[in-house]
C-alpha cells in the first residue's frame, strides 16, 4: 500500500499554494512515498507500549509570567516587509475578481 497517492500530493500542493506540473507531481509523489515508507518503519519497532510522541523531551508546563517585555519598534518590525503603507504591512489583493 502506498504511503501517499498522487492525488494527495496534488491536494497538499494546492493547500500549500504550490503550483506543480504533472511531471513534478509524479516525481514528488514517488519521493514522498519513499520518505513516508521509511518513516513508517518506526511503527514496526514501536510496540503497543510506546505511545505516539510529539515532543522528544519529557517536559510539561513551561510557562512565563504575564509580564510585558519590550517590543520591536515599528521600523524594526516592518524592516523585512516587501511593502508597507501607513506603518502597516502591505499585502496584495486578498480576494481576486469574482
Amino acid at each position: 500500500m502506498p504511503g501517499i497517492t498522487r492525488e494527495e500530493v496534488a491536494h497538499l500542493a494546492r493547500l500549500a499554494r504550490l503550483e506543480l506540473k504533472d511531471e513534478e507531481l509524479d516525481h514528488f509523489a514517488g519521493q514522498l512515498d519513499d520518505i513516508i515508507g521509511a518513516v513508517a518503519r518506526v511503527s514496526d519497532v514501536a510496540d503497543e507500549d510506546v505511545p505516539p510522541t510529539s515532543h522528544p523531551l519529557p517536559l510539561t508546563n513551561v510557562m512565563r509570567p504575564d509580564e510585558v517585555r519590550p517590543s520591536l519598534t515599528p521600523e524594526q518590525a516592518l524592516s523585512g516587509a516587501p511593502a508597507q503603507e501607513q506603518q502597516r504591512f502591505k499585502v496584495p489583493q486578498i480576494l481576486g475578481e469574482e
Binding site: 515532543h55 509570567p65 520591536l72 501607513q86
Partner: protein
C-alpha cells in the same frame, strides 16, 4: 445573488425544529500576548506591539503565558467542565495575511476544558441548560484594513494593510454541544447564553468581554430538521455576530431563511455567512468546499500543558459566586421580580447598585436612582451606565442627604446633575448651587404668609376645616421657593397660622 423569500417565523417553527451551535471567542485581559511578552494594551499605534515571536520570524520560539492558562482553566471550571490532565497545542495551517506565521496556534483534539454546561435563565425565569463541548486556548489574528474598495470591504479592494498588534492576544474559544429542544425560544436562548457567558467572564475578571470592542465575538451555527426526525440538517455558520441583539436576530433570520429554502425543496449549502446589522439579514460568505483542511498537528515548539490537580482544585475553590446564583440572591434581598431584575441586568446596573448599597444607601433608593434618573441620562448620552461620571459612593451620599431631609427628590436630581457636570462631590454641589431644603421657620414664614394673602378663598376653606385644601397653598409656597422648601414643614406652618389641627 439569489434572494430568498423568508418564511414567517411561526410557519418555520410549525414545520421545523431548530438546532444551534454557538462558538464564542473571548479575548483574555492578560497584560501580554499568549506566546510572547508584547503588550496587549488597546489603542496603540500600528505595529508597535510586535516581536519576532508574534511576527513569526525564523528562529523565534513561543512560550505560554501562565496567566492565560490559569484564566482558561477558571473559565472551564465555571462552565462545569472537566480540566484535561495533559493537553497540547496544535498548529492550524491556513494562508491568510492576518497571521504572519501562516498558521494559528490553537488546540485541536486535546482542549484544556471539556464536557461542561451553563445554565441560563430566560426572561420569564425558565432555566435552560446549554451543554458545553469544549473551551480551548488559541491566539487572536492581526487587523486588516482593506484599501481601494468602495466601502472598506475586502471585496473590490486593491490591497490590504496589516497591523499585527492584535496577533497573538490570548483567545479562549468556547463551543457548545448542539443545542436542541429550544424550539421557538431558540433565538432567545442563544442571546441569553451569550449574555450569561459574558456575565460569567466578567465575574471571573478574566476579560471585560465588551462585544462592541471585539473582546467577545459569537459565531452562530444553525440547522433545521423536520419535526419528528432525529438527524440534524445541514448547518450554516454566521460569523462574528457582535452584539446580544444581533445574536438573537441572526438566529431568527437563519431559521426563517433555512425554512424557506427547505420548503421550496432546496438544499442548505454548508457555508459561512455574514450578518448585517442594518438589515438584520445574512449573506453568503465563502463556501466550505475543502471542508476545513487545516492539517492540524501537535505544535512542536510548545511542550504539553499538564495542570496539576492541586492547582485545578485551588482554582475551583477560589471561583466567585456565579452570576446567575448571585442575581437570584440579590433579587430576593431586594424583593423585586424576575422581570425587574432582568431590567437591572440589561441596564448593566447590578454592580453599581450593589456598590451603592455597600456605601450605605437603602436598596430601593440605590435601585431607584440608577434605574431611573441615571439610566435615563446614560440613555440620552448613548453611554453605558458605568461610564457616567458619578460613583456609587456619590449616589449613596445623595440618598443619605434625602434620608436626613436635607434634599427632596427634585433637589436630589439637581445635585446629581451637578455631580455629572463635574461640579464636585454632592455636598459641594448642594453648597454651590444652594440646593438645601429650607425648613427654617423664619425663612418659610414669610413665603407662607404671602401664599395665604394671595389665596384668601382657599385659606378661608381651610379655616372652615377643609384641611385637604392646604395642598394648594403648599404648592404655592413650593413654587415661590423654587422647590427648595421642606414641604412637610410648610404644611405645618400653614395649618398653624390658620389655627386648625393637622
Amino acid at each position: 445573488m439569489t434572494v430568498t423569500e423568508l418564511v414567517s417565523y411561526e410557519d418555520a417553527l410549525a414545520s421545523y425544529d431548530p438546532v444551534m451551535g454557538l462558538e464564542v471567542h473571548v479575548e483574555l485581559g492578560t497584560r501580554t500576548k499568549m506566546f510572547c511578552g508584547c503588550s496587549t494594551a488597546l489603542g496603540a499605534e500600528p505595529n508597535t506591539q510586535t516581536c519576532p515571536v508574534c511576527l513569526g520570524l525564523p528562529g523565534s520560539l513561543p512560550v505560554v503565558n501562565a496567566t492565560a492558562v490559569e484564566s482558561t482553566i477558571r473559565i472551564g471550571l465555571a462552565l462545569n467542565c472537566e480540566i484535561a490532565e495533559w493537553c497540547r497545542f496544535a498548529r492550524k495551517n491556513y494562508f491568510y495575511p492576518d497571521m504572519p506565521k501562516n498558521f494559528q496556534i490553537s488546540q485541536y483534539d486535546e482542549p484544556i476544558a471539556f464536557n461542561g454546561y451553563l445554565d441560563v435563565q430566560l426572561e420569564d425565569g425558565e432555566v435552560f441548560r446549554v451543554e458545553i463541548e469544549r473551551a480551548h486556548m488559541e491566539e487572536d489574528t492581526g487587523k486588516s484594513t482593506h484599501i481601494g474598495g468602495a466601502t472598506g470591504r475586502i471585496h473590490g479592494a486593491s490591497h490590504s494593510l496589516l497591523d499585527y498588534n492584535r496577533a497573538g492576544i490570548p483567545l479562549v474559544e468556547i463551543v457548545t454541544k448542539p443545542i436542541v429542544g429550544a424550539g421557538e425560544r431558540a433565538p432567545e436562548v442563544a442571546r441569553a447564553y451569550v449574555a450569561e457567558l459574558r456575565e460569567l467572564i466578567r465575574a471571573l475578571g478574566v476579560s471585560e468581554a465588551r462585544m462592541e470592542m471585539g473582546q467577545m465575538r459569537c459565531d452562530v451555527n444553525l440547522s433545521l430538521r423536520p419535526h419528528g426526525t432525529e438527524t440534524f440538517g445541514t448547518r450554516s455558520e454566521t460569523k462574528n455576530v457582535n452584539s446580544l441583539r444581533s445574536v438573537e436576530r441572526a438566529t431568527r433570520f437563519e431559521i426563517q431563511r433555512h425554512a424557506a429554502v427547505l420548503d421550496a425543496g432546496g438544499k442548505i449549502v454548508q457555508e459561512t455567512r455574514h450578518f448585517h446589522e442594518d438589515t438584520g439579514s445574512t449573506t453568503s460568505g465563502r463556501v466550505k468546499e475543502e471542508a476545513e483542511d487545516y492539517r492540524y498537528f501537535p505544535e512542536p515548539d510548545l511542550v504539553p500543558v499538564a495542570p496539576s490537580r492541586e492547582w485545578v482544585e485551588k482554582l475551583r475553590a477560589e471561583l466567585p459566586e456565579l452570576p446567575r446564583v448571585r442575581r437570584n440572591r440579590l433579587r430576593e434581598q431586594w424583593g423585586i421580580s424576575q422581570h425587574e431584575m432582568q431590567s437591572v441586568l440589561n441596564a448593566g446596573a447590578i454592580d453599581l447598585i450593589v456598590a451603592t448599597i455597600d456605601a450605605g444607601a437603602p436598596a430601593d433608593q440605590a435601585r431607584k436612582w440608577w434605574m431611573g434618573e441615571l439610566a435615563r441620562r446614560a440613555n440620552e448620552q448613548g453611554t453605558e451606565l458605568s461610564a457616567l461620571p458619578i460613583t456609587p459612593a456619590q449616589v449613596a451620599r445623595v440618598c443619605a442627604l434625602v434620608a436626613e431631609g436635607s434634599l427632596n427628590d427634585k433637589l436630589a436630581r439637581q445635585t446629581i446633575e451637578g455631580v455629572l457636570a463635574g461640579e464636585g462631590e454632592p455636598d459641594e454641589v448642594v453648597e454651590k448651587r444652594g440646593l438645601k431644603v429650607v425648613s427654617d421657620t423664619g425663612a418659610l414664614s414669610k413665603a407662607v404668609d404671602e401664599a395665604i394673602a394671595a389665596n384668601e378663598a382657599i385659606a378661608e376653606k381651610i379655616r372652615g376645616g377643609k384641611v385637604q385644601a392646604a395642598g394648594a397653598l403648599v404648592g404655592a409656597v413650593m413654587k415661590a421657593t423654587r422647590g427648595q422648601a421642606d414641604a412637610a414643614r410648610v404644611r405645618e406652618l400653614i395649618l398653624e397660622k390658620l389655627g386648625v389641627q393637622g
